[in-house]
């Protein structure tokens, strides 16, 4: 039996029962019940499974449980604090930046990472950051507007 993998997930120390070779996406969803992270393609092409691994957006379908060892993992379930939505979540809600909303988790996680590194991205920087995330319903203009709204809200909060 391989050594169990420990990681900090959404701020809590957790131990995976899954084999370290298991897809991280599968383990998060099926073992830990964090089903907000979605399977879209399993090929790292659509961004629906995006999580933050030590703060960096990564495709969890391309990672194994072992890749998470000793690291901090943040999933869509980890952004709400004491019933308060993260400004990016709030902005998606305010802008109605979805239709079926299956891509939404990945869009929000990617946007949070963008705004962490760049507090006031230009439109083309937003486009570039979200280029790897597919939305089939065509909510793109609203998603861009949501990121812009969140940038303003977060920037405003800091200054």
């Amino acid at each position: 039996m391989a050594t169990p993998v420990h990681a900090e997930i959404n701020g809590k120390s957790r131990t995976f029962a899954s084999d370290p070779n298991t897809s991280l996406l599968f383990a998060l969803r099926e073992e830990l019940g964090l089903t907000g992270t979605k399977y879209g393609c399993g090929e790292g092409q659509c961004g629906a499974c995006t999580i933050l691994l030590n703060g960096t957006p990564r495709r969890s379908c391309q990672l194994s449980v072992a890749d998470g060892a000793g690291k901090s993992i943040l999933t869509i379930e980890g952004f709400e604090q004491n019933g308060q939505l993260h400004p990016v979540q709030q902005a998606f809600l305010d802008q109605g930046a979805f239709q079926c909303a299956y891509c939404t988790s990945g869009m929000i996680v990617t946007s949070v990472a963008l705004l962490h590194n760049n507090s006031s991205p230009s439109e083309s920087e937003i486009v570039q950051a979200l280029e790897g995330n597919i939305c089939r319903c065509g909510a793109h203009p609203r998603i861009i507007a949501a990121v812009q709204q969140a940038a303003k809200a977060m920037h405003g909060g800091r200054s």
């Binding site: 907000g36 979605k38 399977y39 090929e43 979805f98 079926c100 299956y102 319903c137 065509g138 909510a139």
Partner: protein, 721 residues
């Protein structure tokens, strides 16, 4: 009796995910109040003309215990909660919200008191399915009429209580006010202790759009918070206890026949259940990986047959017509005579490739058997169709099959069939445990069905004054939706010719209307150029339909037509039409890079009119979304195949629109409060491809007559043309 027994309680939004206790439940009238609790109910009876269209004709097989005559219902509980029930499903088109708005509007209650129960074969009345842009024009008035009848019933109750006449009372905000005394009674108070059920009267008037208060306003998606927090559970997110994960052994090519299979290695793996049933071989295991390994350990031999290729698709379709299914042509005057006397003639062929729906939530199902009854959760547009397929395939009476549709990660016409549901159900029966099947993206690209490819041949003639004299239009394989021309032509011959498709094909957003509009609106542009008339002026010269004229005029105004060219490679064009009660005109501006051959769509303006607008925010989202989706089919999406295999079954090979492809988008919504609302999920997609094609011609002088137009850029298209 004040509350429904706990196990029957319907929780908003989440009810479908953990209501296993409902297995035995089939909604019968005599049980209705046991299930729903005390209150006031209105049944919509399918015998009436409008609801019958939506409820279709039941096949009468094994469904005696379902109320055949009811097509929707509405219940007002003694806590004031309004539950409206319909077999329609939510797949991102926002129907849950717009139907709730209509019910709230008609019942004069706040939107927050409405619970929509949707897409559950045990709870909701039979419905053919959520397709064809029918929910708003057919289900919405039906629910409105039920709500209107409920309101009348409540008024009667209040009038009896106060010993006055209903016309001395006023209804607003979920309560009834006695105008004389100022006393009020809430709906909850009136429903207290009652078990009053009425059928909807034949002709109950509904509130005209001009008097709407909740409908007609931009309302956010119901329960949207669950989507931004990751809490909403789509089908793949369900995890019942003891769940196994299923994988199916896929044949190496379409139509392959299983010759032999050695399952021993797979069967030897611990915890793995392997099923072989005719040509179906699948495995269920505690993890997806273990199921994949089991499938990989199966040695199977298949017999395949040589099959055609996407490289020769269009000649194949013309050579493989299905003459038995041949459709009667639509004829008016004589197209031949009209052509003979034309000053300018056009004879051209247009083609469209197969495209995939690629909903981001792949086809998926969770199946669970209990006491010889099957429950399947699956993202489908046809819960009752899936129930029927499961019943037939598993030789099970329909009353033992329950299909539940969690709000689904999109469909676009692609989720009509029971494929994943059947696979999960078959495995779950063998494993005697719940089984989840989630198709991989490659399976999704291969084993689903595609929007039909097609060949369209057009002959058009115009007189010297620019009036159309003849219109001949033949569509091979792609379909008959939107095939009729909205323009005024005295001589017409229009025909759809079915063919034997080399790929499994089916519904798609807008169906063939996209292909037919691409061909027709491109040809109209060609004719306008032949006659040296401005393309907008040419259309208007041949168009009397005032609603279509209005969208062309509105879009032209917002777009700024005709557009002055400021730089090389700039071009603009238009396309539009009428389909499923919606009127659309789309104008596009493109930029062509002469050196690289790259075509960039810079700006898109779409004017859309579908009668009275129920939810302007949702409609805007649909109009913009349809155009963005349409970019893919217009520019680069095409399924490639060879010898029974899809050769580009990955997002890395099959290009869908991404952020960098998105132009500046504008939707101009024309609200016709004097007209009943039509559907809007499909028609806004049809104007985009011709608008882009016509803009490319305007910019480069190159006429592209095949969708997708520039899968590898303009230079590659030119080279192969």
């Amino acid at each position: 009796m004040s509350r429904a027994p706990e196990q029957w309680a319907i929780e908003p939004e989440r009810y479908e995910l953990r209501s296993t206790a409902l297995h035995q439940f089939n909604l019968q009238r005599r049980d209705f109040f046991k299930v729903m609790g005390a209150g006031i109910a209105i049944f919509t009876v399918a015998a009436d003309a409008i609801s019958a269209q939506e409820s279709g004709v039941r096949h009468g097989r094994g469904d005696q215990d379902q109320p055949k005559d009811i097509s929707s219902w509405l219940h007002i509980g003694d806590d004031g909660t309004v539950t409206a029930c319909t077999g329609k499903v939510e797949v991102g088109q926002n129907t849950r919200t717009t139907l709730a708005q209509s019910v709230a509007d008609e019942l004069r209650v706040p939107l927050s008191s409405i619970r929509m129960v949707m897409g559950d074969t045990a709870l909701t009345p039979f419905d053919m399915g959520t397709f064809g842009s029918r929910s708003t024009p057919y289900m919405s008035p039906q629910l409105r009429r039920a709500a209107s009848a409920a309101r009348d019933l409540l008024l009667e109750q209040a009038a009896a209580e106060w010993k006055t006449a209903p016309d001395k009372l006023r209804v607003s905000e979920g309560k009834i006010t006695n105008l004389a005394s100022g006393a009020t009674l809430t709906y909850a108070q009136l429903a207290q202790g009652k078990t009053l059920a009425h059928d909807m009267p034949d002709s109950d008037p509904i509130t005209p759009p001009a008097q709407w208060t909740v409908a007609g306003k931009p309302v956010p998606k119901i329960a949207a918070r669950a989507f931004v927090t990751g809490q909403h559970q789509f089908t793949p997110d369900l995890r019942p206890a003891d769940l196994l994960h299923g994988k199916v052994l896929r044949p190496p090519a379409f139509g392959a026949k299983l010759v032999s299979a050695d399952l021993s290695a797979a069967q030897a793996a611990p915890g793995v259940v392997v099923v072989r049933d005719a040509d179906f071989i699948a495995a269920a295991a505690p993890t997806e990986r273990a199921a994949e390994r089991a499938i990989a350990a199966i040695h199977a031999e298949w017999r395949t047959q040589p099959q055609t290729s996407s490289k020769v698709l269009y000649s194949y379709l013309k050579e493989n017509l299905d003459t038995e299914e041949n459709q009667k042509p639509h004829e008016k005057g004589s197209a031949a005579n009209g052509l003979a006397k034309a000053a300018h003639q056009l004879e051209q062929t247009y083609t469209v490739g197969y495209i995939a729906h690629t909903p981001l939530e792949p086809r998926a199902a969770v199946a669970e058997w209990k006491d010889q009854r099957l429950t399947v959760w699956t993202g489908t547009q046809r819960p009752f169709g899936v129930q029927e397929e499961l019943s037939a395939a598993l030789h099970l009476p329909k009353d033992r099959v329950r299909v539940i549709v969690p709000d689904t990660g999109s469909a676009y016409g692609g989720k009509h069939t029971a494929d994943a549901a059947l696979e999960a159900a078959r495995l779950a029966r063998a494993a005697n445990r719940p089984v989840k099947i989630v198709w991989t993206r490659e399976e999704e690209f291969t084993w689903s069905y595609f929007r039909p490819a097609g060949v369209i041949e057009i002959k058009g003639g115009i007189a010297a004054d620019g009036k159309l004299t003849a219109w001949e239009f033949h569509n091979y394989n792609s379909g008959g939706s939107g095939i009729q021309t909205p323009y005024d032509v005295a001589n017409q011959l229009i025909q759809f010719h079915p063919a034997n498709s080399p790929l499994r094909q089916g519904s798609y957003r807008g169906l063939a209307a996209t292909a037919n509009h691409f061909a027709r609106e491109s040809a109209m542009d060609e004719l306008a150029h032949a006659a040296q008339i401005d393309p907008l002026e040419f259309r208007m010269k041949n168009l009397t339909d005032s609603r279509l004229r209005a969208v062309f005029e509105s879009a032209a105004k917002s777009f700024g037509w005709p557009q002055k060219k400021n730089h090389a490679g700039q071009g603009s064009g238009m396309g539009g039409g009428v389909e499923k009660g919606g009127y659309v005109a789309t104008f596009a501006e493109i930029a062509a890079d002469k050196t690289s051959g790259e075509i960039r769509v810079v700006r898109v303006v779409t004017a859309f009119e579908c009668g009275a607008i129920v939810n302007p925010d949702g409609l805007r989202n649909q109009v913009i979304g349809a155009n963005i989706m349409g970019l893919g089919g217009a520019l680069f999406e095409a399924i490639e195949f060879e010898n029974g295999k899809i050769t580009n079954p990955h997002f890395a090979q099959y290009r869908v629109p991404r952020f960098r492809d998105i132009p500046q988008m504008e939707a101009v919504l024309l609200d016709r409060k004097d007209l009943p609302p039509a559907g809007a999920g499909e028609t806004p997609i049809v104007g985009l491809a011709p608008a882009i094609g016509n803009a490319i011609f305007d910019a480069t002088g190159i006429r592209l007559r095949s969708l997708p137009m520039v899968p590898h850029g303009l230079n590659a298209t030119k080279a192969s043309a």
